[in-house]
């Protein structure tokens, strides 16, 4: 059976694609934990306990404690709040701005498209992280500056996706019909063409949020993202890196949280692509 036939059969039975169900469940759970961390965390994530330094995982501390006696389970849980925020805020501005620019450029064509193509080339050419690090170092470390840096670069990818879609849509009859009705270009672009073009960008958004968590934790690890003592997975891993040989649990569990959440986003993206039949 080919894949298309397979997925058509799934659709006929009216089931959601399995990756979407699994990924979506992970994401909903992560969102819930991130919104109400205090419900799940057994301890205060920032309180030192000098009677329980570097405890291995056990009954009192399921994921162990760090070199200040802080409970790792509570720290990993509280980090959900920050990392889920990173996933959202590091991508949403790029998504909105990129969509608008992409729609305008795709519709206009001509010189705008040529210039935009150059910008895309240059941004793709740059190692993304190097550019973001450079911008963060101009603005100073911290979450808000990281959001700005990522958005400054990230919108290009959305704009490229949308402009390619709009270019196809604007040649279809309904766009001509809109023009014949005397609608303004803005109305045609944003009311008529965009709803038919936005699906691939939404699917990419899911993947992008997974990338944002990777990038956010990488910057946290390098000391350029979230600042200690705030619990962020990358910061937690950096905290534990010197204890890897003796107290592996400090770094390993936050890393697993990153992998699990990243998996949630990319599975959800795959499932969404399947559901909406976007070719990737």
């Amino acid at each position: 059976m080919t894949e298309t036939a397979n997925h058509r059969a799934t659709r006929v039975r009216g089931r959601l694609p399995r990756p979407l169900v699994i990924g979506g469940s992970i994401l909903l759970l992560s969102l819930f934990i991130g919104t109400f961390p205090a419900l799940f965390a057994p301890y205060d994530p920032n309180v030192f306990d000098y009677g329980a330094l570097l405890q291995p995982p056990g009954f009192a501390h399921p994921l162990g404690t760090d070199n200040f006696g802080r409970d790792m389970l509570s720290r990993v849980i509280h980090a959900y709040t920050i990392d889920m925020q990173i996933a959202f805020f590091a991508t949403v501005f790029a998504f909105v701005f990129g969509t608008i620019v992409g729609a305008l450029v795709g519709y206009a064509g001509g010189i705008a498209e040529v210039l935009f193509g150059r910008v895309v080339d240059a941004v793709i050419t740059f190692p993304f992280l190097v550019l973001v690090i450079a911008i963060v170092s101009v603005l100073g470390p911290g979450l808000v500056n990281m959001y700005i840096a990522v958005s400054v670069v990230g919108w290009v990818f959305y704009a490229r996706i949308i402009s390619a879609e709009i270019k196809v849509q604007k040649q279809l009859d309904y766009a001509d019909a809109g023009r014949a009705m005397g609608y303004t270009h803005m109305r045609i672009i944003f009311i008529h063409l965009l709803p038919n073009s936005i699906t691939p960008a939404v699917v990419y958004w899911m993947t992008d949020m997974a990338l944002a968590i990777l990038l956010g934790s990488s910057l946290g690890y390098l000391g350029l993202g979230a600042q200690p003592p705030s619990a962020e997975w990358g910061v937690l891993i950096a905290d534990g890196k010197n204890f890897m040989a003796t107290a592996w649990w400090i770094s390993v569990f936050p890393g697993l949280a990153i992998v699990l959440t990243g998996l949630g986003f990319s599975l959800a993206g795959d499932g969404l692509a399947e559901l909406l039949r976007v070719k990737r």
Binding site: V130, I133, I237, M244, A245, I258, V259, S266
Partner: protein, 312 residues
């Protein structure tokens, strides 16, 4: 002839991109907090000294004059001196960039060696358990940040088992390879996930194509069909993707070098950003961007060689 004009056009294409990069770097470096003069002289510098340094560096001239001076020096390969290390940036690049290039080349090779056979197995056994298992492993690879997988490899194979050194670059070619193996493997893991994913779907597309069905119908053995028809055509899209991933790969290299304490371009760059060593940040960024552009060019040429239709 067509190929020649394609190459020419492609090189011409490179120029505006490079110019754009130079503008971005020029602007970014001038936006960095704290001016170079006080970075050189320290916080308690006298105003007269600051003025003198600014004049020496040409920072008192109008911006467009500075930009053309900057362009001229970049073209002539004169990138200034490092503020902290007191040696020419060009020399630093010559010393540090090859380390990064070697790391990424090794990572790319390992990634291809990992991805190619697995993609074939996954595509030929599609929707079977083997396919699901392979895709699952690589899905995890995609979600794992390089500093994390690097840290784990470093601890297990470096610190615990002592099979590999825990950092550094070594002396001599073979020693370099030995030192860079773990970092390259770290980088390869995430890259091979990207390659595998596209290669798998490319192979599936080609397997269903008419010319492959025809080749099979002619009675050509399955192995030969795979090698001659499927592999070549599936490689085209992978080569293109490879070119697009080079930026990601270099980004990963920056982090990996920090994790494994490798004296490469990426680590130098992060150190220079912390230390506000502007000339180094500027020179290194340009060098990395040029490197990526050249890789783009190279992958385009390979693509043209694999599929002459690209040149049109």
């Amino acid at each position: 002839m067509q190929l020649l004009s394609f190459i020419f056009r492609r090189i011409l294409h490179l120029l505006p991109t490079l110019l754009f990069i130079l503008i971005v770097v020029f602007v970014l470096v001038r936006l960095l907090p704290g001016d170079p003069a006080s970075a050189i002289l320290g916080d308690r510098a006298l105003d007269a000294d600051v003025e003198r340094i600014n004049r020496e560096l040409g920072l008192d001239r109008p911006l467009y004059v500075q930009f053309f001076a900057f362009l001229k020096s970049v073209v002539t390969g004169n990138l200034g001196d490092s503020i902290h290390l007191k040696i020419p940036v060009a020399e630093l690049i010559k010393k540090r960039l090859p380390v990064t290039i070697m790391l990424t080349v090794m990572a790319a090779l390992i990634a291809v060696v990992l991805a190619l056979p697995l993609a074939f197995v996954a595509a030929l056994k599609r929707t079977k358990p083997a396919d699901a298992a392979i895709r699952g492993v690589f899905q995890v690879g995609l979600s794992m940040p390089v500093f994390y997988s690097g840290l784990i490899l470093l601890t297990v194979f470096g610190a615990k088992l002592r099979w590999f050194p825990v950092g550094g670059y070594g002396d001599g070619f073979l020693d370099h390879i030995y030192h860079l193996f773990l970092p390259a493997l770290t980088l390869a893991f995430s890259l091979s996930a990207i390659l595998m994913r596209s290669l798998r779907s490319a192979i599936i597309d080609v397997l269903d194509a008419e010319y492959v069905q025809f080749a099979k119908a002619k009675g050509i053995g399955p192995g030969l069909v795979l090698m001659r028809h499927v592999l070549r055509n599936a490689l085209i899209s992978t080569v293109a993707l490879f070119g697009l991933s080079i930026g990601t790969l270099l980004s990963g290299a920056v982090i990996t070098e920090s994790v494994f304490a490798i004296p490469g371009a990426g680590r130098l760059m992060i150190e220079s950003i912390y230390g506000r060593d502007y000339p180094v940040v500027q020179g290194m960024t340009i060098a990395l961007a040029v490197l990526v552009s050249l890789t783009f060019l190279l992958t385009d040429l390979v693509q043209a060689w694999l599929d002459p239709r690209v040149t049109r």
